[in-house]
């Protein structure tokens, strides 16, 4: 028996997403197809698999090499969406994670931050550009709409950056090394 669940996780909520997938696993639902909003599950023994996510920005050749390495450790790739790779591993009673120390977990987050910073600056530029048009007296609908739109998008990326940085702080404060 299969079922599809619609859920939205924003990029920086990947740990919550992993927790959710593992909770589904505990209820006997194993992920077969991850998607942007639609997750397909198949009924199976509770806790059969554990799941993890990673944001990957590598060339195809390097990715192949990396996946071959992961396979050695019993890690399977079950899908990819927008540079996010979904892994599963047969549950051996131990927590499943791709990164086990602060340095590598931080490096993983840096991959996201790089993209966020670029977009934040870009969208921020468009926001300010349109805002300046407004402030210089041009109250055309276009500039009002664009100011609001780019303002919101800039805010979104600012939130993303803030969330990731806060996550890293939490790890450090939690004593992770």
């Amino acid at each position: 028996m299969t079922k599809t669940v619609r859920k939205l996780f924003l990029a920086w909520q990947h740990e919550k997403e992993e927790q959710w997938l593992n909770q589904m696993s505990a209820s006997g639902w194993q992920l077969t197809h991850p998607g942007l909003f639609n997750y397909r599950f198949e009924q199976g023994p509770p806790n059969q698999y554990l799941y993890a996510l990673e944001y990957i920005n590598l060339s195809d050749a390097k990715m192949k090499d990396y996946f071959a390495f992961l396979e050695e450790a019993g890690i399977e790739i079950i899908g990819q969406t927008l540079n996010w790779v979904y892994y599963r591993k047969a549950n051996d009673g131990r927590p499943f994670e791709i990164f086990s120390d602060l340095a590598s977990k931080t490096e993983h987050m840096q991959r996201l931050l790089k993209i966020y910073y670029i977009f934040f600056v870009l969208e921020g530029f468009f926001f300010i550009d349109n805002l300046l048009e407004l402030l210089s007296g041009d109250f055309g609908t276009r500039h009002i709409v664009m100011t609001i739109l780019f303002g919101l998008i800039t805010l979104l990326f600012a939130t993303a950056i803030f969330s990731v940085l806060r996550q890293i702080q939490r790890w450090k404060r939690g004593g992770m090394r």
Binding site: L70, E72, A73, R94, I98, F99, D101, A103, S104, E107
Partner: protein, 106 residues
């Protein structure tokens, strides 16, 4: 080599590569040596191995045909680094024992 301080993970990975070993073997060896205290996750290990190769402290051996598994081994530079690190740790240990007397009750 003066100011290089190895993380525990790097130190144990180098130690486990005094004999050629493949990725999963390294994970097991490190866990065994640290009595379960240090468990390297696959992504962390992969990044560490690439770092260590870039510094030429370890090298990847040519793969045997049929086997897709890469095997790694420590280099001469890596071995010298380990020796240096052991001397550093020994100094820390000696001073710690001398000052605190190794006394764990207090």
């Amino acid at each position: 080599m003066d100011n290089i301080v190895l993380t525990e993970a790097f130190y144990y990975i180098l130690l486990s590569l005094f004999e050629p070993l493949h990725g999963y073997g390294i994970m097991q060896k490190v866990e065994e040596m640290s009595k379960g205290r240090l468990r390297l996750a696959a992504g962390t290990l992969y990044g560490a191995l690439n770092s260590l190769m870039a510094k030429d402290w370890i090298s990847a051996l040519p793969v045997e045909d049929g086997s897709r598994r890469k095997v790694y081994e420590i280099t001469a530079t890596g071995k010298a680094l380990v020796q240096f690190e052991i001397r550093r740790l020994q100094e820390l240990l000696d001073n710690g024992l001398a000052v605190s007397g190794g006394n764990q009750d207090d």
